[in-house]
Symmetry: D5
Subunit: 146 residues, 10 copies
């Protein structure tokens, strides 16, 4: 997995400015995960959003254009080796079929969209150890019959 | 992916009884996704939980034991072909790095546990089309230094 | 790739009855490709549709239930070896990026749904050799920003 | 997947010129998908076609030659991670066998050619959400017996 | 790789009858490689051809039908381990690009069809050791532009 | 698959000189496929052959040495995506077992050598479309018993 | 597997200084394996730890920052070819199930954490040949039920 | 991964007898992990050891022979999906290179044997959560020069 | 890897008879490795050799025929997990290129045949630990030029 | 597979000096295969050995250090495409199980070490064609029980 140059540049600027993703969320009015996805070139920004982001990071406008392009998505590898990312692969392996069963029962045949989709990450403080809360919300798409 | 015999037997009994996972959630006092995970042999029940489940499904006690065993988890294949399950793989591919960046920023170096972990599925009614809400909550485990 | 037993049974009955997929299309009022998808357990029928299909094939009602279940989809293998199916893999390999470029230009960032989706196959008579026409129509799903 | 330099150059020129693939279709008298395939080096142009394209994009003739070469086709990876391209992989996985069954029934043993083949993409306006229409037309090639 | 039952039955009958593929070629008026492909369920016979084959092997007519079906082709695995079959994989690996270069130069952009295709195997006697001669003849299919 | 620099240099020189592989065959007295294999660094030339080739292409002698080295052969990837090369993979997948059966019957247990091996490509003119003829001739190597 | 530049720089400095990992363990007050993990960018140091390390190796402070970043972990490839590393893969293949059985019996359903985890390597002198002792200690994480 | 029949039989008998691996360790005078490895057919017992084990489990002598055979080892799959076993894969991915560096520094070029090897599992009680301690001891094998 | 039934039958008979591979070598006048290869269906025997083998093992003649057939060779999996077999894979990985360099230097461009090939295994007694000696002898096959 | 720069430099110097591996064997008093392994960075030399090698090749001492480092071994790819190297993969696939059976019978449960291991290559002159003789000698390592 090679990190695109633009991503490295934006992350370095973000670090220099001492801005967190949460700060960017406040400045741009967009969720921090989505902003991170734009930075990692997994989502495309409008020209206005790109300008805001570039400005917030103190970079000049020449980087705007690249952030508005529609990226080739997916960062590989097939099975991730990074432990944090792997856990999401493991959740899919272990809970994939149970989730399929419950979603079908609640909604019928179809899927949860990963396009008409939002993903939030929250920190749940807990005396036994803080918890990572990941909230996904995807439109249910029923299989069309024809 | 071959579905274990016990799973097929339990699902058939559940269908005959006309019970939904939500019904089982009420009867057992455990979340429906966890119950589905037990049925698909991705989680192990205590003897008492297994008895309750078997009884609710109208099966006899001989199936209790198998549900208390510690299963070899993960249902394969490496990249799932089922569209519903694949979307979770896609979320990991597309949002894996952005999630990693945000989680590290909020918590430091470490991971979200997939073991000290809960997963809920809710139906969000929406006039533009109902939405599937998936809420994951995993304990943050900081990397130990030694 | 193992063909499910129910599929083999339905195909054998279809052959005995001398019915084509086009005949089934007329009887059921559903497209022949969708009916073939039900038979191969890649799509789920309503109880009424399943009854009509089973009846048309001269089978008894005990097979109805299985056809209404939500199948684990995707027939494997990862790269198909069957020449007819492989050509669709090749089209994805060769024209995937050009299609991505054209679709993004016409619609913006997003995808063609493979769920809110129809697929027709027509025979185009041609003196230089008949042609297979495959018409796919999938709802465009724009990436949600959040 | 690395995008060839010539592709990047042509796409940048196309952007500078503010030309869409549809504009190029009108200028060259060739379908926009085929033109995109030439740009992504998945198809080879005649010298005349290459000249027209290069001229339309305001580049000089030194790029003509490369566009007339016969490229090594297929953009990898084995299973695409980009969601837009993956949906075509999914269609092959889910509808591959049903398509095989219907095509064989209509045409006998053989395949749809991916060489004597055209692919059009149209936008179907729809109040419930516009649709992507993909029309493939490939010559049916019956298996030769010998 | 599992050999289909029908293949095993036909090969056993062929052995009992003491018939070689060359004998079958004479009886059926079809090339022995094609006949072997029918037996291994990689090619489909007409009803008449299937009857001739089954009769020649002394089997009864109940096996005719299966031989007329359109098989899912390709025997796997991805990289063959059998030394005889591997050598053809090696030829593709080592001489694939040189063949591509020579074929393109002689014919332009396109492919050799593997469908409108014949394959003969001959024994060339040679005092230094007999040689296997494999003659492939496939229609050249030029890439269509559209 | 990355094409070696020496290959690119030789192909460019060949193009500049306007020489076909057939022309090189006449000049060098070696088959054009073998010459293409030398150029793609899949075969090694003698010093004399390398000199002739380099001279014919108008290059200076400094390139001779590299062409006499024993290359690491095989151009990858595991399953080729280029349609022309894939067809040879498909022939191996579809006709591998039938060829094995026929060759064993004609020769006994052993293989066709891919080393003591020649490969010719001819153009068969045909009013229904020209055909690519590929003639392979490999020494039969019987399995040694010991 | 490509070794990051920072790793190469640190290892070269360590060699120049004639420092062993054990020396670094003494200087930093952290285990040598953990320090090696920081150097190979598989673990992240605090700013203070990074400064100590960089200073010990005689490098200037500009390298501190990179060592405090949260790396993408896992060095690939999927199955390691290096014999020393492969043996740990082999231990997982051969003793994975027996370890699973014993750990479950001692602790119940759950896992040994690889995050709240330490790993020590000791040299056991032995007249029949010294032995490598690897001591892993990971917190047992019981599966949460919900 | 399919569990051998003999393993299932032995585990069922062990359960019926209410014996833990630790009990078996006491009875046989062999480590519990090694005994588990024999039961999972990853290690071979002497006839005497097999008799003791079979007797302890209340089975008759007909099972002795199979336990003395030299098994084909390794339980697959290539990347384990079971979370407990995966963590050992992850340790190899994350700490493989650091371990390699430290072992080479302490011992020179060579490996830790996985054959002249022992593996113990201990439970470390800890108020913050019990810990799994895994102690591996393998003979260091220096690379022979010749 | 599934062991063929005939192999299991022959190995069981060999065990019952108390015959070693070396005993069979003496009885049949063929090397024990080759005999083991026949038993594992990796080599084919003549009818006479098969009879001798079957007789030596006390089985009746009905098993002769299967041993004379030309097997599909190669026992899989792609990377062996069994430690004994893996070491030969490792030798290929580690010493493959050095062997290639030395063999080419001694013989020119070509290969060592694995068909016109013998393989012997000897026990070298050694006070520091006995050694396994594997002697391979394969005909050098020079690359034919054409 | 990319050849390390140091390897290319050493091989070029060896060629310039006109030295064969056999010559180096005489100069260094080490086997030519081991020397080739050092050159391909699959084995590590002592400082003295590295000096001798570098001197013999007429290079200066700056290259000594790299040759004494402990390399990451294994040259990939998973299944080699080079015909000479592939044959060793094929031998493992075809004769792996027979070798396992014979070695276990002669030595008991254990493996042939690939570390305490030597490998010689000899040319056997033979009127029917010279033969490559490969002699491997590895210490037998019996499985330790504990």
């Amino acid at each position: 997995m090679s990190i695109p140059e633009i991503t490295q540049k934006l992350l370095a600027a973000k670090k220099d400015k001492g801005l967190s993703f949460t700060d960017l969320e406040k400045i741009l009015g967009r969720d921090e995960v989505w902003i991170a996805a734009v930075i990692y070139r997994q989502a495309s920004a409008s020209e206005e959003e790109a300008k805001q982001l570039v400005e917030a990071l103190g970079l000049d406008e020449s980087d705007v254009e690249e952030l508005t392009e529609y990226p080739v998505k997916g960062l590989g590898p097939i099975v991730p080796t990074d432990p944090l990312i792997y856990r999401f692969y493991e959740i899919m392996q272990v809970y994939g079929m149970p989730m399929k069963a419950v979603i079908h029962e609640k909604f019928g045949d179809g899927i949860m969209s990963a396009i008409d989709f939002t993903l939030d990450i929250e920190k749940e403080e807990d005396p036994k150890g803080d918890r990572v809360k990941v909230i996904m919300s995807g439109k249910f798409l029923p299989y069309k019959k024809w």
